[in-house]
């Protein structure tokens, strides 16, 4: 999915500093200050996690930090709501399977 570069009401997208986040081991460029979910949608990531029982793919649903559908493992911490967590340079983001894991340690 592409970013809206010229919004009919908000106008043109302003310039913003870039940061790089690591998504499942691949570098992805993001706009400083935007939410992880926004960066991932812009980068075309098809799903953020898979459900516990049926391993169904999920992405954002409410987009305002309530529904927890968009959670991912961020810097080794599972269940981080990506729609309300801002990107940081060098952040390590992983697709979460089920309730996730503690980065190989358990």
């Amino acid at each position: 999915m592409q970013r809206i570069l010229d919004h009919p009401i908000l106008g043109p997208l302003p310039e913003e500093e870039k940061v790089v986040i690591m998504v499942d081991g691949e570098p992805v460029e993001a706009r400083k200050g935007e939410m992880i979910a926004a960066a991932l949608i812009a980068a075309g990531k098809p799903y953020f996690r898979k459900t516990v029982k049926r391993h169904e793919p999920r992405s954002i649903f409410c987009g305002i930090g309530r529904c927890t559908d968009c959670v991912m493992t961020v810097n080794g911490i599972p269940n981080v709501r990506t729609c309300v967590t801002a990107v940081e340079d060098g952040m390590v983001i992983e697709t979460q399977l089920g309730s996730g894991d503690w980065g190989g340690k358990r």
């Binding site: 516990v52 927890t68 911490i77 599972p78 269940n79 894991d101 340690k105 358990r106």
Partner: protein, 391 residues
């Protein structure tokens, strides 16, 4: 409207439903009368443990073994997994004094047939890598198990119904009288009357109030336990956890244990178990505050602070809700099970404190056996309600 049954069970928590289930399985027409809704008392606000390690050798430990076996057979009878799991448990030891006391306690439990041992720090961290560095050792028993209380209660109710058990909710008992026929007549809040020759008082924390209606002395005191529930998280180590501190204070009144403010005033100690829903149940307080079953900010904060002391890693996870239940505690830490002398047909099955989930099946089965006048099991003499009878 008057309803007749063989047995009226007063109280529809896990104990009352277990009694109703096993009675109806034995062919008794059992009605369960409950003042609240489904699982809105202590049975729905507790953790989920079938815990062996907290038990002194004696009747409670013995019955826990039997209850675990019954739970295993209920898995088949109820055609449900009941949230049953066998993760094992560890009791965390923080200093030399606790280590010595726990070593002695573990030896006693082992001689009683419990599979439990003290393990060193290296072994402990293999099972629980996130534990704080100040913990010097722990116990480990693979016996400690758990069930989901809600699934168990639904199971008793669903399967009991097939044997004719009926549950009447939001229908508190307001009075009990003895009719000329010898039967009891129980009046409930909605104006209905129920008659039966036998009453089983499974009122939990409120069992004393039911006892008063027939002149029975039942010294049960509510002890409030607050518990918090975390979000769903990946497993934190392999086992469930408790702190030795609580066991030591309980086992050895002669030993001065260094307690902090929360531990002293709220009876706080760690209980940490992974639920069948992938959340963690973390507790707990043990407070004497009458019949107040509200959670408190102070209690929640104390549980969180304590948990972080043992498991600093949990700083990264959220808790989603808190609950409190009133544990029915008795002066000697044992339940009341049996008929009251001088009140023919009136039985009590209550006073399990923190062992209600663990002991529910065996309580119901034994109660049914007593009511049906099977051969007398003299092990149960020490549970007789008559030990508290006043003359």
């Amino acid at each position: 409207m008057t309803n007749s049954a063989d047995v009226l069970v007063i109280g529809g928590g896990i104990i009352g439903l277990s009694c109703g289930y096993y009675l109806s399985k034995r062919g008794k027409r059992a009605f369960v009368l409950d003042k609240g809704g489904f699982a809105d008392g202590a049975s729905g606000a507790c953790d989920d443990m079938i815990l062996f390690q907290s038990k002194k050798p004696g009747i409670n430990l013995e019955l826990t073994f039997e209850s675990l076996e019954l739970y295993k057979s209920l898995l088949t009878e109820m055609e449900d997994d009941l949230g049953f799991a066998n993760l094992g448990g560890m009791v965390l030891i923080e200093n030399q004094q606790e280590l010595e006391i726990m070593e002695e306690f573990v030896a006693q439990q082992r001689s009683y047939g419990l599979d439990v041992e003290v393990i060193d720090k290296r072994e402990m961290l293999k099972k629980q890598p996130f534990l704080s560095d100040h913990i010097i050792a722990s116990t480990y028993s693979k016996m400690d198990s758990q069930v989901d209380p809600f699934s168990v209660m639904r199971g008793f109710e669903r399967k009991g119904a097939l044997y004719g058990m009926k549950v009447f909710r939001r229908n508190g008992v307001v009075g009990i009288e003895r009719l000329g026929t010898g039967d009891f007549q129980v009046a409930t809040e909605d104006g209905n009357l129920y008659q039966a020759p036998i009453i089983v008082n499974a009122g939990g924390t409120w069992a004393g109030q039911i006892g008063t209606m027939v002149g029975a002395n039942i010294p049960i005191t509510p002890k409030r336990g607050q518990i918090i529930v975390t979000e769903r998280v990946p497993p934190i180590g392999e086992t469930n956890l408790w702190s030795a501190k609580y066991l030591v204070t309980k086992l050895r009144s002669d030993v001065v244990v260094d307690l902090n403010e929360d531990e002293r005033t709220m009876g706080l100690s760690l209980a940490f178990s992974r639920s069948s829903g992938d959340t963690y149940l973390v507790g707990s307080t043990r407070e004497f505050v009458g019949f107040d079953k509200n959670t408190t900010i102070g209690g929640i904060r104390a549980i969180i602070n304590q948990t972080l002391k043992y498991l600093p890693k949990l700083r990264d996870i959220n808790f989603i809700r808190a609950m409190a239940g009133l544990r029915p505690s008795t002066p000697d830490g044992k339940m009341l099970l049996g008929e009251h002398a001088g009140i023919e047909g009136f039985y009590t099955a209550a006073g399990h404190e923190g062992d209600g989930i663990a002991l529910a099946p065996i309580t119901g089965k034994l109660l049914a056996s007593i009511v049906c006048q099977d051969q007398v099991d003299h092990r149960l003499d020490e549970l007789s309600p008559n030990r508290f009878a006043t003359d």
